[in-house]
Symmetry: C2
């Protein structure tokens, strides 16, 4: 109840200590990527203003853009009702997807085929 | 490689058999909610055109709006590079959040306080 209605930040982590982060473009609102954050990733993101995530596959902290330079400057963080998901409103320094696409969501599902769309 | 560049839908589920679904408003693009889908939830969503999810807390399938009537009609599904996250572009029948808010992301994180914003 306090978690939903209150004004206190009480992030709810899953059994792996993670919550979901959705990165949206601060200007267009378009979804750029989805990743996971643990408590440390949230703290580092808030301290530095650059989005940090926890990689489930590598089991390691990473700053988005640490190798590519395409960092995400976080303008605002929105918290959902049960505090297990965040929306990061970001200004991206370059393409967000490691494939070079502006957004990781560059394909549309049509019947059983994925069709490339303009992102 | 095929998963990223190809045109075949090969959803990548985590150890619990789930992937992340981000619901956005088909008209405004705003993020409405985040939930999880297993293979059956994806199939039911595609068959019915209404968003279905897997509840981790209840360990049960649910159709969004099954009790409230606030169903989400799915207009398009976008798939991300590694196919472990989907964006559902939806037309909501009413407020998406169970609290009555249009979006579950109705609070902004400022310092350590959550501030209600206009959603």
């Amino acid at each position: 109840m306090e978690r939903e209605a209150g004004s206190r930040f009480m992030p709810k982590f899953d059994a792996s200590g993670l919550l979901t982060a959705v990165v949206v473009h601060a200007e267009t609102g378009g979804v750029l990527m989805v990743a996971f954050m643990n408590e440390e990733a949230i703290a580092l993101t808030r301290q530095t203003g650059k989005a940090h995530f926890w990689s489930r596959s590598r089991q390691a902290m990473w700053m988005k853009g640490e190798s590519s330079g395409n960092v995400l400057s976080v303008r605002e963080i929105l918290v959902d009702c049960d505090q297990d998901a965040l929306v990061l409103r970001c200004d991206p320094a370059g393409p967000t997807c490691h494939t070079g696409a502006e957004s990781c969501f560059y394909r549309l599902l049509e019947d059983d085929a994925l069709v490339r769309v303009n992102t």
